[in-house]
Symmetry: C2
Subunit: 216 residues, 2 copies
DNA sequence: AAACTTACTGCATAAACGGGTAGTTTGGGT
DNA sequence: ACCCAAACTACCCGTTTATGCAGTAAGTTT
């Protein structure tokens, strides 16, 4: 039934036993093919893959360059590559770093083989496979970094656009030109913005606006 | 085998057919029990649940109060409640809103019943069930909002402290007083900051600093 | 029609800012 | 002792802001 081309998978994993297991698992399963298996990032880069991989499994704790750092490297080198982190512990900061660098999933090594294969496919098909604990941690991080904190008075769309300009360092004069209005109108709006945000300067307004997620 | 107490589940879902299906599914499955089933948030609040639910399935698009808004309400009323969003479309902003408000998962209605039951259990056990597309969207959002984006030149601790003051709207003069230095020294530092950040104004510096997560 | 809001414009002025140039002081290195 | 880089101080000057006061035109409300 599997007439589709197999998913080209590669690993970077320092533990030899695990690496062997993975190679066997992938090599022995229909629909998957192993195009590389290395004990370190450096080796992978030096020797190269036998074919451009679709999915890369990256261990976090590696001798030499860490997996969490290598994510960016690989994803820049192979833009269509999906990278899955594979590690023993669910460390908050490593998860964070990996995801920010562009990893698309994060699995624990205790993941059973069937689930692992499924996750590789899921990653290849645009999903973001994670173990439940990790998914929850990601959400927590997310909730922490992104809390709306409503303002008492809402800014108009116009005011928000102006605020964005200010955040970019635009002067009143330039903003006036962009909006095709007089500089005095800009002043007028700025005053309203300041009133609503209870601030008294551009920088304060910008910082408050960003914090309240009104802009950016 | 299921000697554990069943997972108390409730729904808010305006489509009557879907609601019936859910009630039947949950009611008819071992290990799950339905403690409420309402067509709107308002009804749920008015009538109350037959028991404090463990997991709540919330539709996004509801008549009256939207599910994405109700998340906070429910999670404040029942702090140990796990809330799963259940909807037809994966809308970026609704996902964002729901998660920020405290939802722990986000499923599409097309999710097959078996997977749905599994997700409820997963939510109850501290996981964060999401469909693959949604998981990927969450990661994307995450990458967008939290990108370190290294600066080419690092700011000194002193410069960072000054930058925080600027973000609060402090003037050069006041900053000088706080640091017990002359206003010219403040200027000196500001210039260095601007050079390092490649900006030309306070507001631009503040916005860049916040975005780069140098401050706040 | 009178009263009121909204968005906008104009002017004035003190204060704050940005950027150039230049001269101390200080604590390491070698 | 010498050099070097850093942190700091100083002055200048044109530009930009913050903010008060005042006025107009279009659209609502009553």
């Amino acid at each position: 039934m599997k007439t589709e081309t197999p998913i080209k998978t590669a690993f970077v994993e320092d533990d030899e036993v695990t690496r062997e297991c993975l190679t066997l698992l992938i090599g022995g399963t229909d629909g998957y093919v192993c195009v590389g298996s290395f004990p370190s990032v450096e080796d992978a880069l030096k020797q190269g893959f036998t074919a451009t991989p679709d999915v890369l499994l990256l261990d976090i704790h590696l001798p030499g360059m860490l997996g969490s750092e290598a994510v960016r490297l690989f994803s820049e080198k192979y833009p269509r590559l999906q990278i899955l982190m594979l590690t023993v512990y669910a460390e908050q900061d490593k998860i964070f770093e990996s995801i920010c660098n562009g990893a698309c999933g994060y699995l624990l090594k205790k993941t059973p083989p069937a689930r692992l294969l499924e996750s590789i496919r899921e990653a290849h098909e645009g999903g973001a496979p994670m173990t439940p604990e990790i998914a929850r941690k990601v959400l927590r991080l997310f909730q922490k970094t992104a809390r709306p904190e409503e303002t008492d008075e809402k800014l108009t769309p116009h005011e928000l656009r102006l605020l964005s300009l200010l955040a970019q360092g635009t002067s009143y004069r330039d903003a006036a030109e962009q909006f095709r209005v007089s500089i005095n109108t800009i002043r007028y709006h700025i005053r309203n913005i300041y009133d609503k945000l209870h601030v008294h300067s551009k920088s304060e307004a910008v910082s408050k606006a960003i914090r309240l997620r009104l802009i950016s």
